[in-house]
Amino acid sequence: MSGSRVDALTLDCGDPKLLADFWCAALDYRIHEADEIGVVIRDPAGKGWDLLFQVVPEGKSAKNRLHLDLIPPSTMKEEVARLTSLGATEQSYVEEGGSYWTVMLDPEGNEFCLLRSESERNG
């Protein structure tokens, strides 16, 4: 039997619209659906996972055990600046095992990592 397929990655949040707008701008996604459960955003190219932002009463209390890793289109530095202007925060820069990445927080403090771009990896 074939397995289940991933329909969406759901993020608990306080303000679905705030996060949906940030992540739409970060990933060039579009708002697909908004209802009483939350806001779904979708990759117009149909490649990436849908993201669903659902309201929960509790706030974030610990480092998330799941986080997204993103590949920037140009350079890590330029993308850190662009995402910061959209409402993200740069948390730390990490060098490890011959690689490097930037840990960032979205507008509700969810951790995500910005990896090296294709050209930075090959350069």
Binding site: A25, D28, E36, W49, N64, R65, P73
Partner: protein
């Protein structure tokens, strides 16, 4: 999204793309095996450190899953979780996933969806979902 630029007028600004969803865990081997079976994913050889395991959809859909060992255990409900559409009915898939090492908790129905909350072998929450009208998955 677009930004104004140069003599050509509008210039497309490329966005970031999702490479993977990283999962902090105690036992990458165990979780990678579970999620490969759950999703039909395959291990992907990388230059990563050996204790990290990356898996991906052989059909190339969505991002990869990367399991990374961390010293701390899970303390609270995860704020991110995966929603899965079963290949059969929710009930059949919940049984299959239980056989692979997941546990199931409550089932819900709201806003045209039915879903069962499950925990993977390290207690990470995920949902098996379908539209009540059968237009997506089989309730």
């Amino acid at each position: 999204m677009r930004a104004r630029g140069g003599a050509s007028g509008l210039l497309t600004v490329s966005p970031s793309t999702i490479y993977c969803l990283t999962v902090d865990c105690a036992d990458p081997e165990r979780l990678a095996s579970f999620w490969c079976e759950a999703l039909g994913y395959e291990r992907f050889e990388t230059e990563l450190q050996v204790e990290e395991i990356e898996i991906r959809d052989p059909a190339g859909r969505g991002g990869d899953l990367l399991f990374v060992p961390v010293p701390e255990g899970k303390a609270v409900k995860n704020r991110l979780h995966l929603d899965l559409i079963p290949p059969s009915t929710i009930g059949e898939e919940v049984e299959r996933l239980r056989g692979l090492g997941a546990t199931s908790a409550e089932s819900f129905e709201e806003a045209g969806w039915r879903w069962t909350v499950m925990l993977d072998p390290e207690g990470n929450e995920f949902c098996v979902c379908a539209r009540v009208d059968g237009s997506l998955g089989q309730p």
